[in-house]
């Protein structure tokens, strides 16, 4: 794995911060042997985001975003840039606000009545929360894949064709057919389902269902794909297939993925953002985060001391 390389900040008696082997970052035996680095300048408190929130070719830019669920201040003053055709992973303990932030990016929080979003999020330079922005049009550009595979109880074909149909993307049946085929092919599912497009999407296995959901999302040809723990309900083999798929998809789309698996973040993403208690603690290149985290909380999390 990439992050086993040693870093320059370690003091003499520090063992390399290793990544916990499983999805469960709470395993205690790991933290027991690790001695914390004693660096005076190293931030340990929550506050300003450390690292680099900027990227070379920003496509979506969030500035000072706050989200409230009623009285609950779910995320506080988060600023982050998401580049074109890059994979960025959002990690952090449960309830830290990473999914909330993800849902801000295509305004899925609109459907939650108590949610209030302030701050500024732009897509290609335009505010997505501006009055004349129709959330329907936004979601056609910023697609989403959910934690649990949620195909519609319709046929495989209709699942993929639904998005193009409601947005009027295909002029005729032949064009729709070709969109469905291309999308299934890009999602790596065509070979498995091409003879049974009429069967219900719910008859597929969990991993296939999730790939169907991805095919359904890319059928609309979005520019950004948001993935909210897309592999948490899948076995390792299906997970590996989805991760391979992400590698291919990032040639065309920006992908924002929320994950609890640090190996997954390390494998698929170019940048990683670590959230903690509603704050964005640290953002940096994936290598840097996993080998040389600037913030003590980040290190604690990736070494399994909190989570």
């Amino acid at each position: 794995m990439k992050m086993t390389a040693m870093t320059e900040v370690t003091t003499d008696n520090l063992e390399p911060p290793s990544v916990p082997p499983a999805d469960s970052p709470g395993e205690e035996e790991h933290s027991a042997g690790i001695v914390l680095p004693d660096l005076a300048e190293r931030p340990t408190e929550l506050g300003e985001t450390v690292g680099n929130i900027h990227c070379e070719n920003p496509f979506m830019v969030a500035k000072n975003v706050d989200v409230y669920y009623g009285d609950n201040h779910a995320i506080q003053n988060v600023s982050l840039e998401i580049g074109k055709k890059e994979v960025i992973a959002l990690i952090g303990p449960s309830g830290c606000g990473k999914s909330t932030f993800l849902r801000c990016l295509n305004r899925m929080n609109d459907s939650i009545e108590s949610a209030r979003v302030t701050g500024n999020i732009t897509l290609d330079g335009k505010d997505i929360n501006r009055k004349e922005q129709d959330p329907v049009a936004l979601r056609a550009r910023v697609g989403m894949v959910f934690q649990k595979p949620n195909p519609f109880p319709k046929s495989i074909y209709d699942n993929v064709a639904y998005g193009p149909r409601i947005h009027g993307l295909a002029a005729d049946r032949a064009e729709l057919d070709s969109i469905v085929h291309t999308s299934l092919e890009r999602a790596g599912l065509l070979g498995e389902v091409k003879d049974r497009l009429d069967e219900p999407g719910t008859s597929l296995s969990g991993g296939q269902q999730q790939r169907l959901c991805i095919a359904r999302t890319i059928a609309v040809n979005p520019e950004v794909i948001l993935m909210d723990e897309p592999c948490s309900a899948l076995d390792p083999i299906a997970t590996a297939r989805i991760e391979d798929l992400m590698d291919e998809l990032c040639e065309d789309y920006a992908i924002v993925i929320v994950t609890h698996s640090m190996q997954q973040a390390a494998r698929v993403s170019r940048r990683v953002a670590y959230f903690h208690l509603g704050l964005l603690v640290e953002v940096d290149e994936t290598d840097k985060i996993f080998t040389n985290p600037q913030h003590k909380l980040t290190e604690d999390y990736i070494t399994g001391r909190i989570g």
Binding site: M108, E113, F146, T217
Partner: protein, 425 residues
């Protein structure tokens, strides 16, 4: 020192007590179910025992000479004024030539139904060429004769205690011995409207009234109820007002039905001046009655649609209306329809509110439209149960059997609709 018990010993010590409790609970469950089944069995058994005889009716054979001078005096046929009853009486006198005296003859005339004359009239109307000929016809016997033949009137008790005299019993026996008395299928029960004569009374008017009412009810209550449920569940902002509406809808579902009848009387008849006793008003009242039931069932069905489906559609860029009509509604529809059919079967069995709007009137004609005076099946049952004639008792049970049959059909439809739609999603 006493050795401490191991966990296993402790568990085993408690096992018999646990088993006893389990057995006791099972026994109570079986008992409760058995009581329910027993009462249901008794209910159906008595109903069928009481009511099945009403599906057959005693007919008697008479030989009538359709004399032209009686039916069409002066060569002109007037069906309304022609004395068909006179022909029946003559036929009876010919059958029993030794009956003399006014009171005896009057008794003799009473063994045949008042409907016999109408039957002759209908025959002549259908085929005027038979005037002047001699016809052998089977006409319904009077209800008391029917009861006697069916054994519901005991001929051995004192004459003053039964509605049929010794002489009448003798004539009936004579007819029976001559093979001129027969039990046949009681067609009148299904083709006639209500009547004061039990042997002529039928449920067709009531069935038509109920059907017309249900048409009004389903046409109004399903769209209104479904639209209200969708709005409340999917679009209405959650506020104090929506809470208030929800509480009120739940309350309305529990309001006694007669209150809806009073509301219908005040609003539809007194204020809007709609016709009394009409299926239209009955349907409107039943709509009010079933709306809360349909709204509650529909909301439950909509709530049961998994939120992940909504999110998936929203995430693809479907508008809220598209989410509702493309995804939520198709999945919720079986539940909504089931709720509606159950609401309809409640409406079909309802009688109290209909009493308030005049559908309890004695109406002989079968209603042909929504504004015609009509009664409903449950109200017909109430009316017959209230009638003193012995023959109405079995007809009441028969009407109940028919009503239960309709309810069974509707509930069956609910099950089938559910199964069909679920398979198709």
């Amino acid at each position: 020192m006493k050795t401490a018990k191991t966990t296993l010993e402790k568990v085993e010590a408690g096992l018999p007590r646990r088993r006893r409790k389990e057995m006791a609970f099972r026994a109570i469950g079986v008992l409760a179910t058995a009581v329910g089944v027993l009462f249901l069995g008794v209910f159906f058994a008595t109903l069928i025992a009481e009511g099945s005889s009403a599906f057959r009716q005693t007919f008697m054979q008479i030989e009538v000479e359709l004399r032209e001078d009686v039916i069409a005096p002066g060569g002109e046929l007037d069906l309304v004024y022609a004395d068909f009853d006179g022909l029946v009486r003559t036929a009876l006198r010919e059958q029993f030539p030794d009956v003399s005296g006014r009171s005896d003859r009057r008794q003799l005339y009473r063994i045949v139904s008042a409907g016999a004359g109408y039957q002759l009239r209908d025959m002549v109307e259908a085929d005027p060429d038979i005037i002047g000929s001699r016809q052998t016809v089977w006409v319904p016997a009077a209800s008391n004769v029917d009861m006697l033949v069916k054994g519901n009137i005991d001929p051995d008790i004192d004459e003053s205690l039964r509605p049929i005299s010794d002489k009448q019993v003798a004539w009936v026996n004579t007819l029976r011995d001559a093979g001129k008395l027969e039990r046949r299928f009681n067609k009148a029960l299904f083709t006639n409207g209500d009547s004061r004569e039990p042997e002529l009374a039928g449920i067709r008017g009531a069935v038509m009234g109920s059907a017309l009412m249900l048409v009004v009810t389903i046409v109004l209550s399903f769209p209104i109820g479904a639209a209200a449920a969708i709005y409340l569940e999917e679009f209405a902002p959650k506020s104090r007002w929506s809470d208030l509406i929800e509480v009120n809808i739940n309350n309305l579902a529990a309001v006694p039905s007669i209150v809806f009848g009073l509301l219908g009387l005040a609003v539809f008849i007194n204020w809007m001046a709609l016709p009394r006793s009409a299926p239209l008003v009955g349907g409107l009242v039943l709509t009010l009655l079933t709306l809360p039931v349909i709204i509650i069932a529909s909301r439950a069905a909509i709530q049961a649609v998994p939120p992940s489906i909504r999110e998936a559609a929203l995430g693809l860029g479907a508008s809220e209306t598209q989410v509702v009509f493309h995804h939520v509604l198709p999945l919720a529809l079986p539940g909504m329809l089931t709720g509606t059919i159950i609401g309809m079967s409640r409406a079909l069995g309802e009688s109290a509110p209909l009493l308030m709007i005049g559908m309890v009137a004695f109406i002989v004609d079968v209603p042909g439209g929504f504004a015609d005076p009509a009664t409903a099946l449950p109200v017909q049952i109430y009316l017959w149960a209230d009638s003193p004639e012995r023959a109405f008792a079995e007809r009441t049970s028969a009407a109940i059997i028919v009503l239960l049959g309709f309810l069974l059909l509707m509930n069956l439809a609910a099950v089938i609709v559910r199964k069909r739609m679920e398979r198709k999603w």
